[in-house]
C-alpha cells in the first residue's frame, strides 16, 4: 500500500466515523422526540377549561377533571417551599461567608449526599418522622418529604450565588458602619437575589413532578381538600393511580394531567432561565 492509498483510507475512516456518530445520535434522539410528541398529542385532546376546574368523576362516568390534584400539588409544593427556603438560605449564607470553617466543609459533603438520596428513601423518612407520630397520611408529611429534596438545592444556589459577589461590596458597607447583619440582609442578599430565586424555581420544578416520596405520605385523595393534616392528591400521584388503573377514561385523564404537569415544569424552568439571564448577578 503506497502513501496515497493510506491517506484515502484514513480520510474514508474519518468520513465513516462522522456518519456513524450522526446516525447513532439521530437514532438516540428519535425516541426522546417521540415521547414529547406522544404526550402533547394525547394530552392536548383532553385539555379544556372543564378539565382544569372539575373534580374527577367515579368510574364509568365520562368527563371529570383534575382540580383536586392541581390544588394538592400547589399546597404540597407550597408547604415544601415554606419549610425549606428560609433554613436553606441561612445555611447557604453561612457556607459562603465562612468558607474556611470546618462546619462549612462538612456541610458541603452533607449537601452532596443529601442530593443523591433516592426519592423513595426520602418518602420513608417522612413516613417515619411525620406519618407514624401523627397516625395517618397527610399533605403535611408529603410537604416535608419534598422539603427534604428541595433543601439542598436552595442551600447550593444561595452559597454559589453569594460566593460570586465580590467581597468589596460587603467591605464597603462595613466601612460605612453598617452592622454585619444589615450588610448581608440589605446588600448581599438583594445583590444575589436573581441567583437565589433561580435556584428556588429550579428546585420547585424538580419537586413538583415527584411521585415516589408522596406514595406513602400525601397518599392521594379523590376529593378537593385544603386540610394539610389529611391525605391529599397531587398531579404525579393522580397520574400514577390513573395510569395503572384498567379504565380507559382514567387513562385519558392521566394523559391530560401529564401534559399539564410537563407544561408547569417547563414554564418554571423558562422563568428561572429568564430571571437568570435578565437579572444576572454580574460583577
Amino acid at each position: 500500500m503506497d502513501n496515497n492509498d493510506k491517506l484515502t483510507l484514513r480520510l474514508f475512516k474519518d468520513k465513516l466515523f462522522k456518519l456513524l456518530i450522526i446516525a447513532l445520535a439521530f437514532i438516540s434522539v428519535t425516541p426522546l422526540i417521540l415521547i414529547l410528541i406522544y404526550i402533547a398529542q394525547k394530552g392536548l385532546s383532553v385539555i379544556n377549561w372543564e378539565f382544569i376546574t372539575n373534580l374527577p368523576k367515579p368510574v364509568g362516568e365520562k368527563g371529570g377533571g383534575i382540580l383536586n390534584a392541581l390544588v394538592g400539588t400547589i399546597i404540597i409544593v407550597g408547604i415544601a417551599s415554606i419549610i425549606s427556603i428560609p433554613p436553606g438560605i441561612a445555611a447557604g449564607i453561612y457556607m459562603a461567608e465562612q468558607k474556611e470553617s470546618r462546619i462549612s466543609s462538612i456541610a458541603k459533603i452533607c449537601i452532596e449526599v443529601l442530593q443523591s438520596i433516592p426519592s423513595i428513601v426520602i418518602g420513608i423518612i417522612a413516613y417515619v418522622w411525620i406519618v407514624i407520630p401523627m397516625r395517618g397520611f397527610s399533605a403535611l408529611s408529603g410537604g416535608v418529604a419534598l422539603a427534604i429534596m428541595m433543601f439542598p438545592l436552595v442551600v447550593r444556589s444561595t452559597e454559589e450565588t453569594i460566593k460570586l459577589i465580590p467581597g468589596s461590596l460587603k467591605e464597603a458597607a462595613l466601612a460605612l458602619g453598617v452592622p454585619y447583619y444589615k450588610a448581608i440582609l440589605k446588600i448581599i442578599l438583594p445583590a444575589g437575589l436573581s441567583g437565589i430565586l433561580t435556584g428556588i424555581l429550579v428546585g420547585i420544578a424538580r419537586i413538583a413532578g415527584e411521585t415516589a416520596p408522596l406514595l406513602f405520605t400525601a397518599f392521594g385523595s379523590p376529593y378537593l381538600s385544603f386540610n394539610i393534616f389529611k391525605p391529599m392528591s397531587s398531579l404525579p400521584l393522580l397520574i400514577f393511580n390513573y395510569a395503572t388503573s384498567p379504565y380507559e377514561e382514567w387513562h385519558r385523564i392521566a394523559w391530560g394531567a401529564s401534559f399539564v404537569l410537563v407544561i408547569m415544569v417547563l414554564i418554571l424552568n423558562i422563568i428561572a432561565r429568564v430571571i437568570a439571564k435578565r437579572w444576572k448577578t454580574r460583577f
Partner: protein, 293 residues
C-alpha cells in the same frame, strides 16, 4: 443579645441543620431497620425468599433486580449518550441543531419519571411483547428488559449532557497540535479526546448509575413486580426501589416494614458511595483543568 449575634447564630444553625438533617436521616433509617437487622443479620442480603406471610425476608432478588436493570440500562445508553456527546461536544459546538438538541435534552431531563412510566405502559410494553414473540420468550411485556429500556431513555439526556461538558473541557492546544501533525478528525477524537476525557466519562457513567439505581416510579410501573430472582432478562422482577414503592403501604407487620426500611437504607448507602466517587472524579478533573490553564 444584639442583632449581629442573633444573625450569626441563625445562619450557624442553618449550616448545622444540614449536618443534623443527614445524620437524622441515617439514624432514623438505622433505628427502624433494627428489628430486621437483628432477625436476619447479613443473611438478609443473601436470602432468596421474600415472603411476608411466613415472615421470611431476603433481599437478594431485589439486589439482583437493581443491579441488572441499572447495568443493562448503562450498557444500552452508553453508545447513545457517547454519540450525542461527541456530536455536540466536537462536531456541532454551535448552531441551530446544537442548541435545539441542548434544550431538548434539558426539557427531557425535566419530565417526571411517572410520565416516562406511563408512556412505557402504552408504547414500550406492546413493542417488547412483539419482540418476545419474535424470539420465542413468553410475551408478558413487563419485566427487567422493559424496565432497563425506560431507564436507558431516562438517563441518556443526563449522561449525554455530562459527556458533552467533559469533552468540551479538552484543551484546544493539544487538539490543534494533533491537527497540525496531519491527524484527521476521527484520529483526534480517537487518540486525543477520548483518552483525555476518559475519567470524566467514567464519572458520568457512575453518576448515571446512581440515578438509575434510585429511580422508582417508571421502573415500578414496568418491571412486573415479582419477588423472585429473575430467570432471564425478560422475566418480571423487582428492584430495591420498586419493592418499597409496592409494598410499603401494605406493610402492617413490624418486621415487614423494618425489612423494607433496611432495603431503603442499603439503597441509600449504595447510591451515596457511587455518587461520591463520581463527583470526586469530576471535581478532581475540573480543578486539574484550571491549574493547567
Amino acid at each position: 443579645m444584639d442583632k449581629n449575634h442573633l444573625f450569626k447564630t441563625t445562619i450557624l444553625i442553618g449550616a448545622l441543620g444540614v449536618i443534623v438533617l443527614l445524620l437524622a436521616i441515617f439514624l432514623s433509617l438505622l433505628i427502624y431497620s433494627m428489628p430486621s437487622l437483628k432477625a436476619f443479620g447479613i443473611k438478609f442480603f443473601l436470602g432468596k425468599d421474600w415472603d411476608p406471610v411466613n415472615k421470611t425476608f431476603g433481599a437478594l432478588p431485589f439486589l439482583i433486580g437493581t443491579f441488572l436493570t441499572s447495568f443493562l440500562a448503562l450498557l444500552f445508553s452508553m453508545p447513545m449518550s457517547l454519540s450525542i456527546s461527541i456530536l455536540l461536544g466536537e462536531y456541532l459546538r454551535e448552531g441551530v441543531i446544537s442548541s435545539t438538541l441542548r434544550s431538548l435534552t434539558e426539557l427531557l431531563a425535566g419530565i417526571p419519571s411517572v410520565i416516562y412510566g406511563f408512556w412505557g405502559l402504552f408504547v414500550l410494553i406492546p413493542l417488547v411483547r412483539k419482540l418476545e414473540i419474535a424470539i420465542g420468550a413468553p410475551p408478558i411485556g413487563v419485566g427487567i428488559f422493559t424496565a432497563s429500556l425506560i431507564l436507558t431513555i431516562m438517563i441518556v439526556p443526563y449522561s449525554a449532557s455530562l459527556g458533552r461538558e467533559v469533552i468540551e473541557l479538552v484543551p484546544h492546544d493539544i487538539k490543534e497540535a494533533a491537527y497540525s501533525l496531519g491527524a484527521t478528525r476521527y484520529e483526534v477524537i480517537r487518540h486525543i479526546i477520548i483518552p483525555y476525557a476518559r475519567s470524566g466519562i467514567l464519572a458520568g457513567i457512575l453518576l448515571s448509575l446512581g440515578r438509575a439505581m434510585g429511580e422508582t416510579m417508571a421502573v415500578t410501573m414496568l418491571i412486573g413486580n415479582s419477588n423472585y430472582i429473575p430467570k432471564s432478562i425478560f422475566s418480571p422482577g423487582n428492584t430495591m426501589a420498586s419493592v418499597i414503592a409496592n409494598e410499603f403501604t401494605e406493610a402492617t407487620e413490624k418486621l415487614h416494614l423494618s425489612s423494607l426500611i433496611e432495603i431503603g437504607l442499603s439503597l441509600l448507602i449504595i447510591t451515596t458511595i457511587v455518587g461520591i466517587i463520581g463527583r470526586y472524579i469530576i471535581k478532581k478533573l475540573s480543578v486539574g483543568e484550571r491549574s493547567l490553564g
